[in-house]
């Protein structure tokens, strides 16, 4: 365990704060972020040497920006409510899990279940996402510049998943009401997920998401929309095999 350099962090009361996780434990960082109160002038945070640490910047509920320089482990930005987190590296499983609002941008790739159960906000993955991206999403918007893995948007309930690349097997299995937009090929659709017509309101919605995610040179018309066929909403014995 390295010596804990608390004074270095506490002495800096100016707007920008730097936490070097090679010098101080993660708990200090997360506690400092949780101690933020509305109107705090400490609006810019930088995290160095994450080296795959778990739970970096989990549970932040103030509108600050956090730049993480390197790759993170599990649950980075989980439950985020209003902050703007950028991971300048790749993210492990569960990045942005149960996010409420704000933005998380991953410059590299994301592992399994990115944005799982997210209720709001925007999660942008500039590389590829792995399996179960957006599983049980409940209002979050997710934009993936690359590909997504199998079982993505499983049981998705609301929100939008935008994929510029390809989607793996069983996309949208048992989906409720979320909208899925995929530009590339879809390996297969899960139970009750179907391709749907792209109406003007969907083109407009998608264009807005692409703009917010900083995607340029890609047109909304290049995507296909997928969503729920709504045949599994009420139990019907004829559908028993699909549940």
């Amino acid at each position: 365990m390295p010596a804990i350099n608390v004074s270095k962090a506490l002495d800096q009361s100016q707007a920008s704060r730097v936490f070097d996780l090679a010098e101080m434990p993660l708990r200090e960082l997360n506690q400092a972020l949780h101690d933020l109160t509305p109107g705090s002038n400490q609006t810019a945070w930088e995290v160095l040497n994450p080296k795959g640490s778990h739970s970096v910047a989990v549970g932040v509920d103030q509108p600050v920006t956090i730049d993480v320089r390197g790759s993170v482990g599990y649950y980075c930005g989980g439950m985020n409510d209003g902050s703007s987190i950028t991971v300048h590296g790749s993210a492990g499983p569960g990045v942005g899990e149960n996010m409420m609002s704000g933005t998380i941008t991953v410059k590299g790739d994301a592992s399994q279940y990115a944005g799982a159960t997210g209720r709001g906000g925007l999660l942008v993955i500039e590389g590829n996402a792995s399996s179960r991206c957006g599983i049980s999403m409940k209002g979050i918007d997710i934009v993936v510049h690359g590909n997504i893995g199998h079982m993505s948007a499983f049981m998705a309930q609301s929100g939008n998943l935008v994929v510029l690349g390809d989607a793996g097997d069983a996309l949208g299995d048992s989906i409720y009401e979320a909208r899925l937009f995929v530009r590339g090929k879809v390996e297969s659709l899960g139970a009750d997920c179907i391709a749907k017509e792209m109406r003007p309101e969907h083109l407009e919605l998608l264009q807005g998401l692409l703009d917010r995610a900083g995607v340029t040179g890609v047109k909304a018309a290049e995507f296909k929309r997928y969503g729920s066929a709504r045949t599994l909403y009420n139990f019907n014995i004829d559908n028993a095999d699909a549940y």
Binding site: G52, S71, G92, G149, H150
Partner: protein, 298 residues
């Protein structure tokens, strides 16, 4: 959870550091499994010696004079190196099966961890750091190796329940996950003549691969077979005399990250296991795809 690591060196100049690199990787994953830990190191082949790694709960009693008694029993020169509860016996490759039988006859309480031309296996109850220190793994040299830190789910927390599991010469396997049809597969393998030492599901997976390779399949083909014949969740990392393989089940719940550079191929349950490897910032890093076999051979 369990944590697994693997490292396959392409660059010979890293071989003296294999033990320290693999130890550091495994220690970084200690909190994935506190019950036991183990490591298998594939050393440089000597050409005229093979090894048996064994363990005893009473090393002072069991290892004393074993080399002399064993040499007499098999009529060949025998060397022994004792490390804590483990010892490595060296003898002529042609005498290795005979030596193994003689060890069991001379010292019935000794448990054989593994045997082959190059592999040495060290595993005990305890955290990776304790196990690594106990057997001085950091100073070991070699071409490749695998390691495991265990959160016990399928069987008892004992030395024999620790990974890696070795069921064939120079073969061993570490596993994150749990198998649901291991009892059936075990019964089938027993019918084929395979022997089991534990109730552990992972030992079945190791024996399955040994059986497939004994039937003439290469490592890649044997790993391919796990996808149809083994049910449950698994990420397997496997070592053979000159090979290193990885496979995940089709659901791929259990985490896995790989990295490759000109110098090595590395595997970790999590990225943090890889962060101290040389050149990792410029390595190709990826998650192995579900139901896809990856393997490398020297």
């Amino acid at each position: 959870m369990c944590g697994i690591v693997g490292l396959f060196l392409k660059d010979k100049s890293l071989e003296p550091q294999l033990g320290s690199m693999l130890s550091q990787m495994l220690i970084s994953l200690s909190d994935r499994g506190p019950d036991s830990a183990g490591i298998a190191i594939y050393g440089t082949p000597s050409g005229n010696e093979a090894k048996i790694t064994m363990q005893s709960a009473k090393p002072e009693r069991d290892f004393r004079d074993l080399d002399a008694e064993l040499a007499k029993a098999i009529g060949a020169r025998v060397g022994i190196a004792v490390k804590s509860t483990h010892a490595v016996v060296r003898t002529a490759p042609a005498k290795i099966d005979e030596a193994r039988e003689a060890i069991q006859a001379l010292r019935p309480d000794i448990r054989v961890m593994g045997a082959g031309d190059v592999v040495e296996i060290y595993k005990e109850v305890g955290l990776p750091e304790t196990v690594v220190d106990r057997f001085d793994v950091r100073s070991m040299t070699g071409t490749h190796g695998i390691g495991h830190t265990r959160m016990a789910t399928e069987s008892a927390v004992t030395t024999m329940g620790a990974h890696p599991f070795s069921t064939g010469a120079d073969q061993c396997l570490v596993h994150n996950g749990s198998l649901s049809n291991h009892n059936n597969v075990r019964r089938e393998l027993i019918r084929e003549g395979m022997k089991f030492e534990t109730e552990n599901d992972t030992e079945v997976a190791a024996a399955y691969l040994s059986s497939q390779m004994a039937h003439g399949k290469n490592l890649g083909e044997a790993l391919e077979g796990t996808l149809s014949d083994l049910d449950g969740f698994f990420t397997f990392v496997v070592g053979t005399k000159n090979g290193f393989g990885v496979v995940r089940d089709p659901i791929a719940c259990k985490p896995a990250v790989m990295a490759e550079t000109d110098q090595y191929v590395a595997f970790g349950s999590e990225y943090r296991a890889l962060t101290k490897l040389p050149g990792i910032d410029n390595a190709r890093v990826w998650e192995p795809e579900p139901a896809t076999v990856y393997f490398w051979e020297h």
